[in-house]
């Protein structure tokens, strides 16, 4: 059944060459199962090739296409027109870039800057414990893995950081903390001191206001706030 929605997108634009920002309105006729990335492409192909936006995998695995849609940080590859109209109860959408990093052009932000916080949390094993047998895997039971496996699903789309109500300047942010918490919980990691120092530093978990906005907006449905709460409870801290 063919159904056409008359969609209006008010897209926040920025031109770095003249350092000018403005809001540009585009009207698009869209079928029910087009995604917002499809609408951006349609605008490029049919109306305005200069509109710039980011995406990569376009099926919710890479997180490149996160933007704010009517104020809510979301992956534009996952939002279907039909669902957007139902969810926001409108055909008018404000599309803005995330605020967690400086805008490069239009909807593209300098995600490297945002990643600096993730990098500080060292998203890898710092000091791996030797496996019991040489050239073999570690033994990790499914029950043990289950305790932290949800946190490994983070794709660093920064929707959680965007929604977070704590001051982004003073706070590392939910996804960066999650990267560290995964390794604190990972039995293969021997280095806990530096990690705990970071988690309980003045930019760490105690800055969290427990609004749970991170869990609410996570496109991978990770309960980010739960993991931060584990850390806040002092559970990992040998000297609380």
């Amino acid at each position: 059944m063919e159904k056409i929605y008359k969609i209006t997108l008010r897209i926040h634009r920025y031109d770095p060459d003249i350092e000018r920002s403005w809001i540009q309105e585009y009207r698009v006729d869209a079928g029910r199962i087009l995604r917002f990335v499809d609408l951006f492409r349609k605008i490029n192909d049919e109306q305005d090739p200069s509109l710039t936006w980011n995406s990569s995998c376009e099926h919710g695995q890479c997180g490149s296409c996160a933007v704010r849609i009517n104020g809510k940080p979301m992956l534009s590859c996952e939002l279907l027109v039909e669902n957007a109209v139902a969810y926001f109860n409108t055909t008018l959408f404000d599309i803005e870039p995330l605020t967690i990093a400086p805008v490069v052009r239009d909807l593209v932000v300098d995600i490297e800057k945002a990643y600096e916080k993730v990098n500080r949390a060292k998203p890898y094993i710092i000091a791996p414990k030797p496996a019991a047998e040489k050239a073999a895997e570690y033994c990790i039971t499914p029950q043990e893995l289950e305790k932290y496996v949800a946190a490994t699903r983070c794709i660093n789309c920064f929707c959680c950081a965007e929604a977070c109500i704590s001051s982004p300047k003073a706070f590392l942010g939910p996804n960066a903390l999650l990267a560290s918490i995964v390794r604190v919980m990972d039995p293969r990691e021997q280095e806990k001191t530096d990690r705990l120092a970071l988690l309980y530093s003045d930019q760490g978990v105690r800055r969290c206001h427990t609004s749970k906005a991170c869990s609410f907006v996570c496109p991978k449905e990770i309960d980010v706030a739960y993991f931060i709460a584990l850390a806040k409870s002092g559970r990992f801290d040998p000297n609380p």
Binding site: P16, S56, P123, Y124
Partner: protein, 598 residues
Amino acid sequence: MNRALQTSATLLCDLLIIGAGGAGMRCAAEVLGKRPNSRVIALTKVPHPQKSHTSTAQGGLASVDPADPADKIIYHMFDTWKGSDCMADQNVVKKICEAAWEQVIWLENRGMHFSRNQDGKLSKRTFGGHTLNFGERSAFRAVFEADRTGKGIMDTAWGESMKQGVSFLNQSIAAELLFSDDQCVGAMVFLQKEGKFARILSRATVLATGGSGQVFKVTTNCRQNTGDGLAIALQAGLPILDPEAVQFHPTGIVGPGILASETLRSVGGILRNKDLEPFMEHYAPKMKDLAPRDLVSRAIETEIRQGRGVLNPDHHIEHVWIDLRHLSQKVHEEQIPEVSGFFKQYVNLDARTELCPVRPSNHYHMGGIPTNLSGQVLNSSQNPVPGLYAVGECAAASFHGFNRLGTNSILELITMGKFVGESVLEFLKEAPQKPAEASAVKTFSRFSEYLEGRGTDSIGQIRDALRTLMTANVGVFRTESGISEAIGALKELNERAQKVSLSNKSLAMNQELMQRWEMDALLAVSMVIARAALARKESRGAHFREDFPERRDEFNHHTLASMTVFGDVALARRTVDMSVFNAGGAHHENFNLIERKY
């Protein structure tokens, strides 16, 4: 606007990696692990390495566990050889299959979160074409991290290379390889975000740019997989191996192309056409919907071509249905919840009560920049190009031949990534401390042309026409007349593309400018695919010629396609390595020219 483009900076390094996906990062980690003070620069077109296409791989990674009493490396080698339709190079198959488990342990020991069995060891599952005892029964050979194995590999390889100090240049492209006396000495790079050109002089250079799926209208590939690595190799006068070997998965979801797993058919899903007729019984009376991937893809395409497809009004893509409505609630909930979730997410329908739209979707390019066992790029005379390596989907040492088995792609990128790293380390021992000087020849003139175009055509429309054309004429089905028509049409599209005017002439983060550059890559890759497909008058693996439906012995050779001027393609041959068969050891007869029948 007429302005002089210029080089803003020259950077020096020991190793330049073009493409920071799984293969490139595994290579970087190997080099830095053994030679910690190396200066390694990794370039990626995506905003961050973690956004690479490797992250989207789902199913698993094939490797024979030495502790498994039932499985043997020679079985994995046989499956890969048979799957390749006798076109893989056997020395490569042997080397990769033998190295597999060690690389799994490498990943695990560095923190990949593999799924576990009750003993705490790595879980294993079966995958199509992977068998025990030369086809006797299914092998439990694929280790996995839930349905996000590629993400685990990407995160681990990225983490390791970052830990060891790789410098990343994100959102950047290599516009041209630089040479000095036939040795590769780096690349001319365009930094998109800054809108600047930089010359990177490097002692060794690795191409790891990934696939080229965007050549086709429906693809499982990322938006950025436009065959850039193949295009810059062609531009440098290097050949492409087996460009005609392109794999299609039968059931991509309309329209994003996300895979609807084979599981749907194995649990009883039925493919139906416009009239709701279960058409597979006409094509494979016994196996029906459970027939192999390529056969099902051809059946679906035939239905669509004969007017029994359904046109999706939103994506303007023709498809058939997969019917899952008759399956029990238990099957829906326990066996296919994730794929059902994809239909809900991307088509907004309930697979328990509604028909689900699917069609063949481009998935993987078996062909690529030819390399030897160590990942050194081979020129038209099949000699290694000093200082240049290729790895991952853009490369072809020929592990997959003409058809890739599921779970073998990420195995290849992780093992070959290591081998290329080793090879680079050897090279760095001998190469001069400072890379030779060289300047770009074509970059500025090409970019000036892009900025000065005066036509009225749109890049989006040309790209759409190209992708539609390639899907219809050089996709699942190929015929002499169809391919010839495509070659003519590609020339026209190329002429149109050369005239396109950009609405935004800025250099900084100009998506339109990048798409214009990508357009040239798509056109070049399409042309070599088409020309190689035209010359191969047989059907083999994923390459199916309706006018030559059988495999023919006279084509038991790889294709090498070169093209420095658009449309001017030179074709040559490379012998398929059959060293395992020729060695005459135990079971060697299985490595002869066998029939691919399941």
